[in-house]
């Protein structure tokens, strides 16, 4: 107590006020930079376990994205088929070639019909003989079992129900025995595509949840490993936000790395498939080529990975970090 008089006055400048908004913002950015760099260094310093995490996330993301790219390609192919609908008119036995030709010309003049083609029964039989390999059997037949056939191609502007109505109308023509709309396979393809998309979506959803859980667990382990450090930081005045930040960045780096790896995996798979597919396209005299992810697709994948990483880390951090309090 005697010494009190000798104590120098506490200088106010010893503890400068640093509460300006600009200063707080700068400090906040500085800690973000430090946390980001520090987390990245930690991720890179353990290449073994980090690579494993990246691979797991990369594969989990590459699977649905790869399937989706495949579906996109398939639908691009099927979209390329203009006016796939075709109505086959099987004529009555009594309708001769003249009548059939007249009908063909008549129908060709209709507004809703793009083209018509008359296939005489003899021609049909020849074609069938050549294609089927049943030449011997057919030679033994007394008479041609095939009817005259008129192929009607509706205009592409017609909607599906209109095409169906057209088929019904054409069947009413007295010379027509039966009108068959050859569209079922396309419907089937479209239904199949829709189903596939939903399956991909469901699988993708499950894999995303899996990625979140894996990331959450990885971050939980990171938190466990640094428990002492967290306690010390809290003891010297670190806020929850301060403690949280490096772990969120760890999640971000895992996610971004996983997303990048997924983009690489998908691109590699496409590259692997490119040659056989262009060979196949050549066989079909098609100019088809595989369309890949593109730069935007790859970027989106990286961003998606990053967001998932952040979300997974957030899950782990909000559950585990608050429970670590200095004792």
């Amino acid at each position: 107590m005697i010494r009190r008089g000798k104590k120098p006055q506490r200088k106010e400048s010893a503890r400068p006020r640093r509460t300006g908004a600009w200063h707080l913002l700068a400090a906040w950015f500085q800690h973000h930079r430090l946390s980001a760099a520090d987390s990245l260094v930690r991720v890179i310093e353990n290449p073994g376990s980090s690579l494993l995490t990246w691979l797991v996330i990369g594969i989990a993301l590459a699977l649905p994205v790869g399937l989706n790219v495949a579906l996109d390609n398939v639908s691009r192919v099927s979209d390329g088929w203009d006016s796939p609908a075709q109505i086959s008119l099987f004529l009555q036995d009594g309708a001769g070639n003249d009548e059939a030709q007249r009908l063909t010309d008549e129908l060709a003049a209709r507004q809703d019909v793009a083209a018509t083609r008359f296939i005489p029964r003899e021609e049909a039989l020849d074609e069938f003989r050549d294609l089927s390999g049943f030449a011997d059997v057919l030679a033994n037949l007394q008479e041609n079992p095939l009817p005259n056939l008129v192929l009607v191609t509706p205009r592409t502007t017609l909607e599906e129900p209109e095409v169906v109505a057209l088929r019904a109308e054409l069947e009413e023509i007295s010379a027509v025995a039966e009108a068959v709309l050859d569209m079922a396979w396309l419907q089937r393809l479209n239904t199949l595509m829709e189903l596939s998309r939903r399956i991909v979506l469901a699988v993708g959803g499950m894999l995303v949840i899996g990625v979140l859980l894996i990331l959450g667990n990885t971050i939980r382990l990171a938190i466990e490993n640094r428990r002492d450090e967290i306690v010390i930081v809290k003891l010297v005045g670190g806020s929850n936000g301060f403690v949280r930040r490096p772990f969120l960045y760890t999640g971000l780096w895992y996610g971004v790395g996983g997303g990048a790896l997924a983009a690489i995996l998908v691109s590699a798979a496409l590259w692997f498939l490119e040659e056989p597919i262009s060979d196949l396209a050549l066989l079909y005299e098609s100019a088809f080529y595989l369309s890949g992810l593109g730069v935007m697709g790859a970027l989106n994948l990286v961003i998606l990975g990053g967001l998932l990483g952040l979300a997974g880390a957030w899950l782990a951090v909000s559950r585990h970090l608050v429970r670590i309090e200095p004792q």
């Binding site: 010494r3 009190r4 104590k7 120098p8 506490r10 010893a14 503890r15 640093r18 200063h23 707080l24 700068a26 400090a27 906040w28 500085q30 800690h31 430090l34 002492d228 450090e229 306690v231 010390i232 930081v233 809290k234 003891l235 010297v236 005045g237 670190g238 806020s239 929850n240 301060f242 309090e325 200095p326 004792q327």
Partner: protein, 221 residues
């Protein structure tokens, strides 16, 4: 600077760690807190830095009633209190420099300012030359001095120490106490919990004595 008003603390296991303790520690005081093991010394320090809350009574630190401080406000309170622990509590995977810099990084100081202040604090405890060493490479006394540098680097108003010389020999202990006195000289309120009566009775500062949670002497400043 620190006021306890009829403070009781009962842990969940049923032991009363503090019973109706009232005391006042003025600004720029240097106070020892003593008593047998289990008397409640650490509990008092824990209440001051809100590592725990009292069961009854009021604790006021730096004019602030701690019962009004919510969880979000705890970090801010702790930034104004420097703490030294018996087992140092250093980050063993960081350099001495990084350990001491931690409170400044948390408070958001600029890079250059951090370097300047950390070196000043290390110079004060005589460890400037070990700036880039890892704590593992230091002796017990040196580690404790790193802990002290970390506690004072942010220029807190209050410095708490829980058995800071617990593991040190008498010569080193006297040296550490001398450091605390130097900080007190420049206006820091110092509260040191220690059961080393031989050491603290030689230093002629106010001594608060606890016995099984009761304050037995030294309560009135």
């Amino acid at each position: 600077m620190i006021t306890f008003d009829r403070v009781s603390k009962r842990y969940e296991e049923g032991r009363d760690a503090l019973r109706e303790v009232s005391l006042h520690i003025g600004s720029e005081d240097f106070v020892f807190l003593t008593g047998h093991s289990g008397a409640g010394k650490s509990t008092m320090l824990r209440l001051i830095m809100l590592m725990d809350r009292p069961t009854r009574g009021q604790v006021i630190v730096n004019g602030q009633d701690l019962s009004t401080v919510r969880a979000r406000g705890i970090p801010r309170l702790r930034r104004n209190i420097g703490v030294v622990f018996q087992n140092h509590r250093l980050l063993f995977d960081r350099t001495v420099f990084d350990n001491v810099a931690l409170p400044l990084v948390i408070a958001g100081y600029e890079h250059r300012e951090i370097g300047r202040r950390v070196r000043a604090a290390l110079d004060k405890v005589g460890l400037l030359h070990r700036e880039w060493a890892m704590p593992k490479a230091l002796s017990g006394g040196e580690q404790q001095r790193v802990g002290i540098a970390r506690a004072v680097v942010g220029k807190p108003r209050i410095l708490l120490a829980d058995e800071p010389t617990g593991n040190l020999d008498p010569a080193l202990s006297a040296e550490i106490m001398n450091l605390f006195e130097q900080f007190n000289q420049v206006g820091v309120t110092v509260l040191i919990a220690s059961h080393d009566l031989a050491l603290i009775s030689r230093l002629h500062h106010r001594i608060i004595t606890l016995q099984q949670g009761h304050l037995v002497s030294g309560g009135a400043g």
